[in-house]
Assembly symmetry: D2
Homo-oligomer: 260 residues x 4
């Protein structure tokens, strides 16, 4: 007995002999030479054309996430390139594979927490009360509040205030942005530690202002890091460091077992 | 006897408590809110700030490469997401792994061929003679000229003339652009077939006008496709098709072996 | 102020001019020609040499996981190979990326549940009472019991009884194996549905008998599937199907948008 | 006008309610508990059951390739795991992505060179003359002979003589094995350097004795390394080193740019 097939459908793009259309836009005439890469990312994900303010804010989020130095992700990409220089795409892919819960998770966790506290469409919430409630609940559950504090950038992650200023300028400093700032102030008050909102918290909140589902927030990190990783692979091809990291690591790690 | 360590050095970024600097730019004040994603990609790869014309042209190249429908790369990403929805970064990575010689190779091959014919710094070359020579040589060697013709877009890939028009507007329609157009004309003349420059040929030539090493050209496809793949993964999370493709494929592929 | 470095150490392998030693075994004389691949996997993961019974049981687990037809993982690998045939390693990698919570998760979830119910070293537990407790608790929490039932193989996944018979023969049908079978019987009793232990449940339980940490159980699926995926990539190189899947998918998915 | 679909077919496996069959073998009764992982890999790739001698030789090849210490591939896997511990499959995938031309290429290059010199079915070739011809040709073309010499294991890679001894014992020391040994002797004679066959050369030659297509030889490295990488990921989860490698690398690499 044959299974009845379900339809296969995608709404992203179509093409024929003469035309290539993405999200309803004619690629040659309405995208190429018209939109920058960030704006096209916005169209690809939302089916909507970014307004100038949305374009400025969304590109700001993306450029914040491109480059963070020789992270584990960049090292993985360089290691991979050193073994398969003919497959730079696989080197970038290897670097992306590590963008999981540890590094980009706090961005989506911040967005998720904010959406749970303020479901889309909520009006006139008591944000101060909400912040106290969130901080008390997370502390009681011994969970770390996502998007606050930073191991290196102290006392303040300099990207966060810049992103918040831009959010003001772009008309996007709404309740989600206010709530995360109130949560950070409350967390500082009850813990006695400096816990300002960091870049991932700011981005999580601004993504809520945009209305992006929290599940896609990690995707912004992924697309931005792909840009950064191509830069690392290019530098690795010009002035390699992977082999030196390898030899030092191998040497030290097995020294306790080697007879000589 | 201990190995003498070699230095480990990268010139891309540094940070300390107060600052985050990429390619000499202060990230919060000189990048965030100032550069779009394409411009920052240009900075990341070249250490230089794109001029407005370079910005327009470079972003045009990138947006051309973002989205091509349900390609093998998009299908691989969706398949991967269906098995590991908690790791969308791995789904994008799986999609990137296939951006090899078959799909993005012609872009870098076009750039390589043009650079070999016109090494950077060449002045006053006889482009007509060069085009005849290239086409004769490649035909004699039974090699396919990269960046010409298209299996679907006939007679003309509509992205190519658009990219060439932009190159004119941006002051980048130099000898590399002219040479690939002359090669296509010559290839049409001697083969009797319609072989206009396609999008990958146009991008390969314009990358030479920028002076990008041909080895990095594939990287533009990789970063752009990462943007497109996040869009596919998002759609897969909202309206999945991977399972249906799987069930149909499995069913048909093994039908000749199944007893019933 | 400089950070004080922590040591970097690995206990897996070392080599020098004359020797290559893995987990204390001389690779040329004690591994090559002596151990099969499954036994060496056991050594690599546990630092111990498998007894003949352990070897038989562990290889049985691994071969169970190698091949499952044209799964999403196999399709992703074939799609990737079709775009980058020069990088078969990346095609296998793409296929592995999807071995996440949906497909291999139930194996580790079964092991985890069993370990939580019967911490290593537990003696003389009342397995019947435990099974009733587990099933009641999971049903109350509306969680699916891992490792039971199967969408295709009905009423019984034929791999499970075979694995349990082997576990008997190899002296590994201890409390974990008994407990998962009791859980399945109890789940059938209270739900009225046929819910026999499936292959992933049997493997999860037997992994507990071995004493493997539940976190590494997924790794057995990963290494076994790598073997299976090389087979798919080889067949794709000899008789390709990726392009046909692509063209059909693209065609159907965008038909509702195309004008003609 | 609709495209006429081509058939989609795979000969690897099928299943229905009662049965799971791989390469014509009933998985529960003819594979599980009967074949070890290496033997099943042989079946998966060749559709044939390995004889006891083939089983011994093929497993010997695979175990040779499992573990090489903290290689770039192992470091990439550990880096990836440190960022996404919930996706160990992606960590293994990242490690596999680097198994390209640099590390596993010489194995397939050796097999290819041997097949080109001695096409399958060749009888009674003058192997001495062939070896002289090959070495002279490759030296004239300034190409490196694949599978000879080793940067660390001097004067002899201890895996190679062991593999050749096994090949004798297993009845697989035929013309391909003889030819690569003659090539190495000739290369030593004309270069005056010690250039014994190394492990990749021995494996390349023995793969030709098996009759494997040279294009699949890399796949043996891929499946074997997947086993090794699971071991590294497991050790990383128990005693992490990725973060320390990261912090040291980041610190040193950007020191020349940091103000303090």
């Amino acid at each position: 007995m044959a299974r009845k097939p379900n339809p296969i459908r995608s709404d992203i793009a179509w093409s024929n002999r003469e035309r290539i259309v993405v999200r309803g836009k004619d690629l040659p005439s309405e995208v190429i030479g018209v939109m920058n890469l960030g704006d096209f990312a916005y169209l690809q994900l939302t089916s909507k054309t970014a307004t100038p303010l949305q374009s400025r804010m969304f590109n700001a989020i993306l450029v914040t996430l491109v480059e963070h130095g020789l992270t584990p992700s960049a090292i993985a990409a360089r290691m991979t390139y050193s073994g398969a220089p003919e497959s730079m795409q696989a080197a970038v892919a290897a670097g992306l594979c590590g963008l999981g819960s540890v590094f980009v998770g706090s961005m989506e966790n911040a967005a998720r927490l904010l959406y749970e506290a303020l479901p889309p469409g909520t009006q006139g919430a008591d944000l101060d009360a909400l912040a106290r409630e969130i901080v008390a609940r997370e502390r009681a559950a011994k969970r770390i509040l996502p998007g606050m504090g930073h191991p290196i950038h102290k006392p303040v992650d300099p990207r966060a205030p810049r992103l918040f200023t831009l959010a003001e300028e772009c008309g996007m400093a709404g309740d989600y942005v206010k709530l995360i700032q109130l949560c950070a102030a409350e967390a500082e008050r009850v813990s006695g530690k400096s816990l300002p909102v960091n870049a991932t918290g700011a981005i999580g909140a601004i993504c809520c202002e945009f209305g992006f589902p929290w599940t896609v927030v990690r995707g912004f990190g992924v697309m931005a890091r792909a840009v950064g990783l191509v830069g690392h692979v290019l530098e690795e091809s010009q002035r390699p460091i992977a082999q030196e990291i390898w030899l030092r690591t191998e040497d030290e790690a097995s020294a306790h077992m080697r007879p000589e």
